[in-house]
């Protein structure tokens, strides 16, 4: 479609509802979203606001009750199961709060697995895993099982796995939700790096630090988008005020 232009992801009136009559819950309520190529968008909101349901719809893990969903110019909300599974595998990378690594596979094997399932040769997959482990700073951990890695390292392996098929869109659900502050910083650096490399990313989170790596931040309440912030502009002068520096400099006695 011509009118899609440079947008990688687009929704129109996207809805997901459960139950009927009195018990009807609008988990995702008439959401219009457009994510441009190379853009990082964060969706924030209180728990139960529908942000995880939204992410599942965007990734084709769940079916919308109504509305349209487009990925890279292709309408995908009406695809059959098999076509949808293929699209998830080839075009979308997923990162989850609980990492979802296979415990009995090494870091490298976890990364190789989706490529092998997609029909790539073992040699291709191995080379790609080495390259990605290097990118996430874990080249020396290739043969480690997940149980021998820290939380931050596991999430970095999961990020590498999400990138294995060079997806057009990466979706992250609370990527720092299970991490302490040091590990969060590791993952923040990696997301800043993904962003800088031009990866298109949608993050749902209630961690303001990971949300602050985005270009655009959307607030969600009761299944709907209620506010949007473009996180550009600002200056270090403001930070001086936050730190009390401005006041300290003006104080005389």
């Amino acid at each position: 479609m011509n009118d899609v232009g440079a947008s990688v992801l687009r929704t129109r009136g996207l809805r997901k509802q459960y139950g009927k009559g009195e018990g009807l819950v609008r988990a995702v309520d008439d959401v219009d979203l457009e994510v441009a190529s190379g853009e990082t968008v964060a969706v924030m909101g209180p728990s139960g606001c529908g942000k995880s349901t939204l992410l599942h719809l965007l990734g084709g893990l769940d079916r919308p009750s109504g509305g349209e969903l487009w990925l890279a110019g292709q309408r995908i909300d009406q695809l059959g199961e098999r076509a949808l599974a293929r699209l998830r595998r080839d075009k979308i990378g997923f990162i989850f709060q609980a990492f979802h690594l296979m415990d009995e596979l090494t870091a490298a094997e976890n990364i190789e697995l989706p490529a092998l399932l997609a029909g790539r040769s073992a040699r291709w997959a191995r080379r790609r895993a080495v390259e990605l482990l290097q990118r996430v700073g874990l080249a020396d951990r290739a043969r480690f099982l997940p149980s021998a890695l820290s939380g931050g390292q596991r999430q970095r392996v999961a990020v590498a796995r999400a990138l294995v098929s060079d997806p057009q869109l990466v979706l992250a659900d609370e990527p720092t939700g299970n991490l302490d502050s040091q590990a969060t910083v590791e993952v923040l650096r990696l997301f800043e790096d993904l962003h800088a490399s031009g990866q298109t990313l949608v993050i749902v989170t209630h961690d303001s630090r990971i949300a602050a790596t985005a270009d655009r931040l959307i607030s969600m309440r009761d299944g709907a988008f209620v506010d949007e912030t473009r996180l550009t502009g600002g200056s270090a002068g403001n930070l001086g005020a936050v730190a009390g520096l401005t006041e300290m400099c003006e104080r005389e006695v």
């Binding site: 009807l24 819950v25 609008r26 209180p46 910083v185 923040l188 650096r189 800043e192 209630h206 303001s208 630090r209 949300a211 602050a212 790596t213 931040l217 607030s219 309440r221 009761d222 209620v226 506010d227 912030t229 996180l231 550009t232 502009g233 600002g234 200056s235 270090a236 002068g237 403001n238 930070l239 001086g240 936050v242 730190a243 009390g244 520096l245 401005t246 006041e247 300290m248 400099c249 104080r251 005389e252 006695v253």
Partner: protein, 175 residues
């Protein structure tokens, strides 16, 4: 510039103004860019006038505008000791914001949630700037530690805004 800050820096050793300026820059990192260098000299002159510091001209640096070397007086030492022992902490403006939400809601002047959203937009922009600056500092940098403090404070403020949002969200019955 707050006098005690400059005084305390002199406690290490007698120094030129430009040395103090460089040490401040190092401790503040990117935040120091917003600082006016002249403030250090004005403050040093005030400290001398108040008898908290003395100055001596230093030899061999005649081309420098700040060729004086400053040192602490005993009164200055005492002031520094008192400052180090003092417990002070800047107060965030929580009460004002809290009362703003209550006034807006009770008078029907503005939607408290819109006020919360606007505040959050501003804090998130600052968080992004602080975090970028913090990630740009090498490990163990003094300025990085200050930036980390700013990041943590902004996170705390944002969490409080979440609580405000919950409180002011009208209970909506799903039809």
């Amino acid at each position: 510039m707050q006098q005690e800050v400059i005084l305390a820096m002199l406690a290490k050793e007698p120094s030129h103004g430009y040395e103090l300026r460089a040490r401040l820059r190092q401790a503040l990192g990117p935040l120091g860019d917003a600082m006016n260098d002249g403030q250090v000299y004005v403050t040093l002159a005030r400290l001398e006038k108040a008898g908290l510091a003395t100055s001596e001209p230093s030899a061999g640096l005649r081309d420098r505008p700040d060729r004086k070397v400053y040192a602490l007086t005993p009164e200055g030492q005492q002031r520094v000791a008192g400052w180090l022992a003092e417990v002070s902490w800047p107060r965030p403006d929580l009460a004002e914001f809290h009362l703003k939400l209550i006034a807006a809601a009770s008078a029907g002047l503005a939607d408290p949630l819109a006020i919360v959203d606007a505040q959050r937009r501003e804090l998130l922009r600052r968080l992004r700037d602080a975090q970028r600056a913090a990630l740009g500092e090498p490990d163990g940098s003094a300025a990085g530690l200050l930036l980390e403090g700013i990041v943590l404070r902004l996170q705390a403020d944002l969490r409080w805004l979440e609580a405000c949002e919950r409180n002011w969200t009208p209970r909506k019955d799903h039809r």
